[in-house]
């Protein structure tokens, strides 16, 4: 083993035996559950988002266009009933897309909340078993909520005793309620802390290392870039897009009413392009800000990533690189089509891989800490 690597290993072994570090990361503590569960939820949610973008998103957009073309044909032939049927089909397609987007967003957001809860545990004045039970319930709710949302489109109202709510919605609502209950109890624990101002466990260690600082600075810059892009979109494009949508729909209906199906179909294509332009701008805006938040949150757990400095830096670079690639190439999809879409998916995958890499480091850290403790 090269001497530098040996020194790094020795340093990490000493670090793992530190009683302060051990007390901030006790075995099977609420903090560990939140940390592992949170990173797992974020990684799974992002992977699901990547799969959705590759296999569902574009196909669904194509089917929406086809439904609108059918509605235009119905207008041309003066058949209001068929036009209404096309809109029912369009509604089903929008539900299919919407529930998948919601499942992705809710899984990732539950992961973010879990990471925030891992950070604030010292300020929650509750007993250890209560905190641990709450953490277990939160992770369970965070898993069941997106599963319930995903199933809404497929389960529908089958075997449901309710008029408009299906079993999948019941599952999603119950899981959401579970998350709210856990958060309310955490708030109550925080209220109790305010009375005494005594920390119930040590706060996570602050590290002024390069990976930690890069994640903090990079994360804030990503949030800033997302904000700048949002401001540009709102100022330069939002109103124009809204006017364009009304104009396109007017032209589409006018052409269909006059039986000009070629022009109506062309306007449906314009409508699809406009919807695409809006979607990529909103997706780029929200993804870059979410990745920024993720980077800031991950900067807090860097002292617990049991990897050499070189590998810690590598994962930070991969994470920040992927966080820029995905939104930039999502925007470029309008010009370069599926090629840019493919590169954006690779960017998303890079973020997932970096997350898993950091999680492996935290698992190694937890393992070495537990092994040291059991030998003592």
């Amino acid at each position: 083993m090269p001497p530098q690597q040996q020194t790094e290993r020795q340093a990490m072994a000493t670090l793992a035996k530190s009683p302060l570090l051990f007390s901030t990361f006790a075995p099977m503590s609420a903090r560990r559950l939140y940390l592992f569960g949170g990173v797992g939820l974020i990684a799974a949610g992002m992977l699901f988002g990547d799969v959705f973008a590759v296999f569902v998103l574009h196909q669904n957009a194509g089917q929406q266009g086809a439904a609108l073309i059918d509605a235009s044909r119905a207008v041309a032939s003066g058949n209001a009933a068929v036009s209404n049927e096309s809109f029912v089909r369009l509604g089903t397609l929008l539900e299919d897309r919407g529930t998948k987007v919601d499942a992705h967003v809710h899984m990732v957001d539950a992961g973010y909340l879990a990471l925030i809860l891992a950070l604030v545990q010292p300020y929650v004045a509750l007993s250890r078993p209560t905190k641990k039970a709450l953490a277990g319930l939160f992770i369970l709710g965070g898993m069941l909520l997106p599963i319930g949302i995903f199933l809404i489109h497929y389960v529908g109202l089958a075997y449901s005793p309710f008029a408009v709510i299906g079993w999948a919605s019941v599952l999603a609502d119950a899981a959401g309620a579970l998350l709210i209950v856990v958060l309310v109890v955490q708030a109550w624990g925080y209220w109790k802390y305010l009375a005494t101002r005594e920390l119930t466990e040590p706060v996570l260690l602050a590290e002024n290392s390069m990976p930690s600082r890069a994640l903090l600075t990079g994360g804030t810059l990503l949030v800033l870039l997302g904000f700048l892009h949002g401001a540009y979109y709102a100022g330069a494009l939002l109103y124009r897009h809204e006017e364009m949508e009304t104009d396109i729909l007017k032209r589409m209906l006018g052409a269909a009413s006059q039986g000009n199906l070629t022009m109506a179909t062309s306007e449906v294509n314009n409508f699809g392009m406009l919807a695409g332009a809006r979607a990529v701008n909103i997706a780029a805006h929200s993804h870059i800000i979410e990745f920024g938040l993720l980077a800031i949150l991950l900067s807090f757990v860097q002292p617990y990533v049991f990897l050499s400095e070189k590998w810690k830096r590598r994962w930070v670079q991969v994470l920040l690189g992927g966080s820029v690639i995905l939104p930039v190439f999502v925007l470029l999809e309008l010009k370069f089509g599926l090629l840019a879409g493919g590169i954006a998916d690779v960017g998303g995958l890079a973020v997932v891989i970096a997350l898993i890499g950091m999680m492996v480091g935290i698992l190694r850290y937890a393992g070495s800490l537990d092994a040291t403790e059991s030998r003592a």
Binding site: A71, A74, V75, S77, G78, N79, A80, S83, N84, S86, F87, G91, Y112, I116, L119, V120, A206, N208, R213, L216, T217, T220, L221, V223, L224, F227, L228, G230, A231, A234, G235, Y239, E242, E245, T246, L249, K250, L253, G254, A256, S257, I289, G292, L293, I296, L297, S299, F300
Partner: protein, 164 residues
């Protein structure tokens, strides 16, 4: 807890709670009606066009556009209040690592709080007066404040501490 950190963490929590309460009110009393109206007017515009009733079809289409204008901004206000609050809390947790004086950090924190409160409010107010210049200007100014504060925070994080 330092003053600047307190402004961000507690201000963020209050803003998030406000954003969620607004969202709850919106979901219970406004959203379903708005979505029904939006879907209904668009379907109606097509059905009326099929019946060759162009004036009513156009009027249904305009009602759809107006409802969608409101819907987009109502949802944006809700999501931006909560999103900005989350950013404030997360940045607040690490705010002691912004390597500026506490007085300057308090200015950054206060700017984020004011910008984060006013920006979604300005967006929401636009639904009461479509295209009102005053509310557009307020949205631009408050988002500018958030951008300036985030830039300062990023610079502070990047700056090595004197003790490091």
């Amino acid at each position: 807890m330092t003053r600047s950190r307190g402004i961000l963490v507690f201000g963020g929590l209050i803003l998030a709670a406000f954003g969620m309460l607004y969202g709850l009110h919106y979901a219970l009393f406004v959203e379903h009606q708005t979505l029904d109206h939006m879907g209904g007017t668009l379907t109606q515009a097509f059905a009326l066009a099929a019946d060759r009733n162009t004036p009513r079809s156009t009027s249904a289409l305009e009602a759809y556009s107006s409802t969608k204008y409101d819907y987009v901004r109502q949802v944006d206000a809700h999501s931006h209040w909560i999103g900005l609050a989350m950013i404030m809390v997360v940045i607040g947790l690490a705010f002691d690592r912004v390597n500026f004086s506490e007085a300057f950090r308090a200015v950054i924190a206060f700017s984020l709080l004011v910008g984060g409160t006013l920006f979604p409010l300005a967006v929401l107010l636009q639904t009461y007066h479509h295209g009102a210049v005053m509310f557009k200007a307020l949205a631009v100014a408050s988002s500018g404040l958030v951008i300036a504060a985030l830039t300062a925070a990023a610079l502070g994080f990047a700056r090595p501490s004197a003790s490091a």
